[in-house]
Amino acid sequence: MQVIHDIEITTTSVLLDGKTIAVEQTGDKLLVELYRRYAGDYPKFFKMDTLSRLGFIAAELLLKQSAISDQQLVDAVILANRSASIKNDTDYLATITEGNYYPSPALFVYTLPNIVTGEIAIRHHIQGETSFYILNSPEQLKPIVASTLTAKHSTALVGWCECSKQDNFYAKMQLIWRN
């Protein structure tokens, strides 16, 4: 496997291909700052939960680094984390607590962690494999990626995409190529 591009996003920093991207905001507002700077043409971003925003922005920055032809060749999106969609699940639960029974459909649709892979696939017209695994550590994802990406000369967005609570997230994603 060859890493074409990689990105690391924390609540206070962004590292793209080893170079720091200067940012002004922190926490959830950092993702909005990155959206406005690097995307800006996809209003559905504002309807996404934090986990989806995180994966969406990471994918956006990774694929912007690539030539357009690379984007057309992305065959799979394979992500993982430890906390599934717990932050959004908690937000949704708050809408159905006793005495306040107004369940939010917009929150409900994000009560699955694999929605982030779908959002990325829709945005970039990726029609191949998409999957999201709940694992204890990023290391456990490597054999899964190796067994999924079996075809030579195939490209995939892979990595760790974690959001356990508000203003607490971490992503380390890569655009990889199987040579």
């Binding site: 209003p43 107004y102 369940p103 459909p105």
Partner: protein, 85 residues
């Protein structure tokens, strides 16, 4: 009615998380779905919840919903005629 329309626009922006939008950006008579605001089916559910939560209106007839959600003005007119709170 105008006061209700402005209040409704603000509630729609908050319910649908239109962070870049102000009430002035919403055309009172523009279609809510398809063209205009371009809302989808999940947004429709949010609007149904909004009418229940804020105005005590339970919209259970899908045929009625199509007419009610034509625009912000049709929503406001329905709310004014049917609100229980």
């Amino acid at each position: 009615m105008e006061k209700l329309i402005e209040q409704l626009k603000a509630q729609i922006i908050e319910a649908l998380n239109f962070e870049d939008m102000t009430p002035a950006d919403i055309d009172t008579d523009a279609p809510l779905f398809g063209e205009g605001l371009g809302l989808d089916s999940i947004d429709a559910l949010e609007l149904i919840m909004l009418m229940d939560r804020e105005y005590g209106i339970k919209l259970s007839d899908p045929k009625a919903g199509k007419a009610v959600f034509q625009s912000v003005r049709t929503m406001a007119e329905y709310i004014q005629a049917n609100r229980t709170k």
